[in-house]
Assembly symmetry: C2
Homo-oligomer: 421 residues x 2
C-alpha cells in the first residue's frame, strides 16, 4: 500500500516552523509496511489544497493530511474538504461533547471558536480526540482513503496511534517490515563508511543499510521489507551480529535507545548514582539525563559551574589550578568531576569545561576545545581533550554526548575489571 503525506500550512512553507508531524506519520506508516512515496507541504490557500488532495488521492491509496483543523481563522481546510467531497459541514454531537469536556477540564469557557471545532464534513467518520478540540476525519472516495488529522503534534500522534493505525490494520493486509537501528558514537560518518564498505557489499538482497547522522551520534539503519515476516528477523539479526564484531567500541545501543537511557540502565544495574559538574555544557548533560522518565533512581543533581567562583566554592576546585592552567584544562576538569562526586555524594560524576564559542577562543585553546572528565568516588578518574568545531549549539550537543559516552565506557570497563570486587 502506498501513501502520501500532505502537511498544510503557510507557516511550514515559509520555514517558520518545523514539520515534525510528517516525520511521526511517516515512521508509523513505514513500521507497518506502508510505503510513503511522497511527502508534500502545501499552502493553506484553499485553491492549492483543492488541487493537491485529489492529485495525491489519484497517486496513492492512502492520503494523510495534517494541519488546518485548528480553531483560528487561518485554517480553512474543513470547508475545502467539503468542496472536494461534495458535502457540507454539520455539527457533530460527539465532537461537541468532547470539546465541552476538554474546555471544562482546563477550567475554560466554551467560546465560538471552540464550538466551530465540532463542525465536520457530513460524509466523514469522526476520529474522536480526547486530548484536544479538533477531531480527526476519515473520508473515502473512489477507492482512496483521505485522513485529516489536527496539526497539534501530540493530538495528531494520539489519533494516529489509537484511531488511524488500528483501522488501517483491520481494513488491509499490510506487508511485513523488519528494522534494526544500530547506534554509534565517537566516530565520523566517512570513517564509519570506510570501516563498513565490505560489510555493505555482502548484505543480502532486500536488506538495506543507511547512515543517519546527528551531532555526535550516527545511527545505522538496517531495513528489510517483504511479504513474509518469518525469516526477516533472523536475517537482520545476523547482520547486526556482524556489525557488533566489526565496530564494537562505537556501538552504544539499538533502535529507540538513547545514550542517556543506556547510561541510566547501567547505573541501575550497578545500583549506583551520578551527578554532573557542567561548565561549557551549561545544563545540557543534566537535561539529557533527566529527560529519561525514572532518572531520579540514579541521577542526584548537578552543579552548573559557569562562573569560576562556582567551580571554586561549590566544587572545591583549587583557585591556584585555575590561575595556572586556565579553567579549560585537564586538572580543572578532573577536580570538577572529583569534587562533584564528593559534594553531591554520588558514585560517579561527569564534568565539562570548554569554550563553546563564538567568543573566548585562543590559538592554544580555540573555540570547540572541551575537557571532559569522569570520576568515581573510589578515586578513579579519566579525562580527555576534545575539539568539536566552531558552532556553539553543536559544541554543547557533541560535548554532552561525549561526556555521557565516556561515562558509559568507563562503567562498562569497570564491570569487567575487578573494580567492584
Amino acid at each position: 500500500m502506498n501513501a502520501i503525506i500532505i502537511t498544510i500550512g503557510d507557516e511550514i512553507l515559509i520555514g517558520q516552523i518545523m514539520d515534525t508531524n510528517s516525520v511521526f506519520i511517516a515512521s508509523v506508516l513505514t513500521e507497518n509496511g506502508i510505503t510513503v512515496i511522497e511527502k508534500n507541504t502545501v499552502s493553506d490557500n484553499p485553491a492549492e489544497i483543492e488541487e493537491q488532495i485529489p492529485r495525491a488521492m489519484l497517486r496513492a491509496g492512502l492520503v494523510i493530511i495534517t494541519g488546518g483543523l485548528g480553531p483560528t481563522s487561518d485554517d480553512r481546510t474543513k470547508s475545502t474538504l467539503c468542496k472536494i467531497f461534495n458535502t457540507m459541514l454539520v455539527e457533530n454531537s460527539d465532537v461537541l461533547e468532547d470539546v465541552k469536556g476538554f474546555v471544562a477540564r482546563r477550567s475554560g469557557v466554551l467560546n465560538d471558536l471552540n464550538r466551530k471545532q465540532a463542525a465536520v464534513p457530513a460524509c466523514a467518520t469522526v476520529l474522536r480526540n480526547p486530548i484536544g478540540t479538533a477531531p480527526g476525519l476519515w473520508m473515502e472516495k473512489d477507492g482512496s482513503i483521505l485522513i485529516a488529522l489536527p496539526g497539534v503534534p501530540f493530538e495528531m500522534e494520539h489519533l494516529m496511534v489509537n484511531e488511524v493505525l488500528p483501522r488501517l490494520k483491520s481494513q488491509f493486509k499490510l506487508p511485513e517490515i523488519t528494522k534494526v537501528t544500530v547506534l554509534t558514537t565517537g566516530i565520523s560518518e566517512a570513517r564509519l563508511a570506510e570501516l563498513l564498505s565490505g560489510f555493505e557489499q555482502q548484505l543480502p538482497q532486500g536488506l538495506s543499510l543507511a547512515y543517519l547522522p546527528s551531532p555526535g551520534i550516527i545511527r545505522l539503519r538496517l531495513l528489510y521489507i517483504g511479504l513474509e515476516k518469518d525469516q526477516q528477523q533472523d536475517m537482520v539479526n545476523a547482520q547486526v551480529e556482524k556489525l557488533k564484531g566489526l565496530i564494537p567500541e562505537y556501538i552504544f545501543g539499538f533502535n529507540d535507545d538513547t545514550l542517556q537511557q543506556v547510561v541510566g540502565r547501567l547505573l541501575v544495574r550497578r545500583n549506583e548514582t551520578v551527578s554532573a559538574a557542567e561548565s561549557c555544557t551549561g545544563g545540557a548533560i543534566s537535561s539529557l539525563l533527566t529527560s529519561v522518565a525514572g532518572s531520579s533512581r540514579y541521577y542526584t543533581g548537578s552543579i552548573i559551574a559557569y562562573d569560576n567562583t562556582v567551580k571554586i566554592e561549590q566544587l572545591k576546585v583549587d583557585r591556584a589550578l585555575i590561575q595556572q592552567y586556565g579553567a579549560v584544562s585537564k586538572p580543572v576538569a578532573e577536580q570538577m568531576a572529583a569534587g562533584c562526586c564528593k559534594v553531591l555524594g554520588t558514585g560517579w560524576a561527569v564534568a565539562t569545561t570548554g569554550i563553546a564559542g563564538p567568543d573566548g577562543g585562543s590559538p592554544e585553546k580555540p573555540v570547540g576545545t572541551v575537557w571532559i572528565a569522569v570520576a568515581h568516588k573510589s578515586g578513579l578518574i579519566q579525562s580527555a581533550r576534545f575539539s568539536f568545531g566552531e558552532h556553539r549549539g553543536r559544541n554543547i550537543q557533541r560535548a554532552s554526548v561525549a561526556a555521557l559516552n565516556m561515562l558509559r565506557t568507563l562503567i562498562l570497563q569497570k564491570e569487567t575489571d575487578e573494580f567492584y570486587n
Copy 2:
C-alpha cells in the same frame, strides 16, 4: 519567482530523521520574496529522483534539492543529475583541493569516499564548500535553475547564505516582503484568538496574521508581500503597535528573539546576575540560559537539585519544610530560589519543583503540577503553581518557559517600581 524544495532521502520518507533543511531553505527564500509553492520529500531511488526533478522544474523557475551528495553509498543523486542534464561526472580540481584541505584540517587521511566528493556533473557551476566535503551544484536547463546542496545541515546553510542567495539576488529582481513576528507567552491559542478576533478583521488587505504555537510560546506572524517596499514597514509596524495595546502582558519579544535572550538583555541592562535551582526541569532552564552566546556576563551557575538531599544540603532548604509540605510546594520552591541567590551569590534566582511525570502524581498534586519561584537577593520573592499536563517533555519545556517569563516579568515590574532606588 516560485520555488519548489525537494529533499531527497529514504531516511526522511520513512520518518527516521527530521527534515530541518527544507525549513531553513524555505525561510531564506521567503524572506527574500521568493514564493515556495511546494515542499517535497522523495525517495533516494534514482527513478523517483529522475521523475520528480523535471516535474518540479516545469512548475517552478527555481528548484532546490538537498541530500544525496554525501560520501556514503546510499547517495546516488549526482549520477541521476547527470542523466537528467544529459552530462557526465568529471573530477573538479577546485573541489578536490577543498576536500583535501578539509580532511587535512581534521587530521584525517584522504580516502576513496572523500575523493568521490570531487566528481561533479560537467555542466554544473560548483558552489564551493569550505566546511565540508560535498560541494553545492548550480545547473540550468530550459529557463529553470536547479540547485543541489549537501544534506548536512550546517554545510547546506553555509552554501545557501554565502553562495545561493547572492547569486539569486544578482540574477533576479525579487519582490519585497515585510514580516514581523510578535512573541507571546502565558496564554492559550484559543484565548489569544478570541482576544484578537477584532484585530484580525481590521487588517488591511495584503497583510496576514498566523498563529505559530510551540510549548509555552505562541508566535504571531504578521506578513506583507508586495512589489513596493516603501510603505510596507509602516503598515506592519502600525499593526504591531495595535497588538502591543491589545495584549501587552503576553508579549515578550519580536522576530528572532528568544525568551532567554530577552531575559539576558534585561539582566545586562541592570548589571545583574541570575542563577537557577532546578528540580523538575532538571537543567533545562540552565540550558536555555546558556544557549545564548555571551550569557556568562549574567549567568553564574545553577544547582540542579533533583534529589531532596541536594535541596537540603546545597540550597539550604529546611528538611522539616519538605517533610511537612512535600518537595513540590510553595515554601520549598521559595526556599530553593532564595537559597540559590545566597549560595551562588547572584542578584536573581529562579527555582522549579514539580512532578514532570509520567509517575509520581497524586490526586492533590497530579503529574504536571509545578511550583515556580523567583527570588531577588533583596529578599523579594514571588511564586506560583502551574498545571502543565501529562507529557514529561512538554512539562519540562513549559515549566522552563514559565520560569523565565516569571523572572522577566518581575525584573520589568521592579524597573518601574522604586525597587532599585
